[in-house]
Symmetry: C3
Amino acid sequence: MSALLSADHDTRAIFALLDQYIDCLDSDRLEEWPELFVPTGCYKVVSRENEALGLPAPLMYLYSQGMMQDRVTAIRDALTFEFVFTRHLTSAPQLTVQDDGTVRARSNFALYQSTEEGVTRLFCVGGYNDRLVHSGGVWLFAERTVVVDTFGIQNLIATPL
Amino acid sequence: MSALLSADHDTRAIFALLDQYIDCLDSDRLEEWPELFVPTGCYKVVSRENEALGLPAPLMYLYSQGMMQDRVTAIRDALTFEFVFTRHLTSAPQLTVQDDGTVRARSNFALYQSTEEGVTRLFCVGGYNDRLVHSGGVWLFAERTVVVDTFGIQNLIATPL
Amino acid sequence: MSALLSADHDTRAIFALLDQYIDCLDSDRLEEWPELFVPTGCYKVVSRENEALGLPAPLMYLYSQGMMQDRVTAIRDALTFEFVFTRHLTSAPQLTVQDDGTVRARSNFALYQSTEEGVTRLFCVGGYNDRLVHSGGVWLFAERTVVVDTFGIQNLIATPL
């Protein structure tokens, strides 16, 4: 349950996956985002308060790659809001291998938004709770639950966090 | 003095210890916090200004595990302040093995507080200067000095940083 | 192109170099900063907007170690502004080995400034795009491009970021 990844190769591949996640979001390559999940993968946003109280109601729940792709299409086609650059800062992820060979990862993040005029604000602080699987020779997200400490702000869940 | 940890196992164990530290604080499992130190361990908070001037006076100085446990009891029983969620973001720690086999670790942190209503503020920015020892088969803190760039704010040292 | 560093020793040395960079800046040991570059090394600051649009005009461009040393002298001798402590937080760098043996590194950063009175503000958020070379037995910067999301603020490029 608490075993550490022994294969250095796997650790690097997982770190690269976690980095790809924030890089494709920050670089506005949203179309790559669903590709980081397995087809039956799940993306969830829950408030810190609900998580602490054990309440299951998520702010956002996409439970397949297809739903994530729909979400990206909606963002590209339908949503209108002021363009901002995003920048994720993440703390070093802590990995634990599960009995079934999947890996749990946990890390904290701060997400900043900057306007085209160069004005930056802290948008959201939270944590990532991930379940990662080795599938078809690569590591992918089976699940990413985003626990947000900051909520009740505009457009919080308009785009992936 | 500047040797790097050669044993991958030790590096992972130390990274896990540093992560446990922020996880038990952020998850409000304060009782675990003193357990991460050796019995004679020491927890210190110093202001950035005093550190830069070489002035020794700390803002907080607990020089045994027992004092830390007392502190946790005080927090649980006596202190009253508005509940907030905390979230630490830390930069990758830099480790150096000392001649005596202990390890020095250095990392930076940003500590955010969020209310139950989901409003987040930057609480404190600073650095961790650690001395870590291998004791009884596990790595523990012999000393953690928290250098705080942000001070003069309310409740700064009410809870461990 | 996308190969990972196989030698653990090199990875550690590169992580140590990246850490030295922020440590010498945060500790006001600016004179060490040019020493982390090769003599023909290059330090560039570009705005996020210009980078996104593919516009080359940098906010700051120093294309030799000598220019960096001049810059440090200027900061020490000529510039006058209120003293602040700085603190960099960086996300885990992602390294990729190039065909020619150099290494590309990418990481995000948040830079905080604190006054001597202990008041902290977020100064700048951005990313580091680096080209690192192994030279004379050590790893050094051949190029560091700092992409700043936050700009139009006072003194942004007065000191190295």
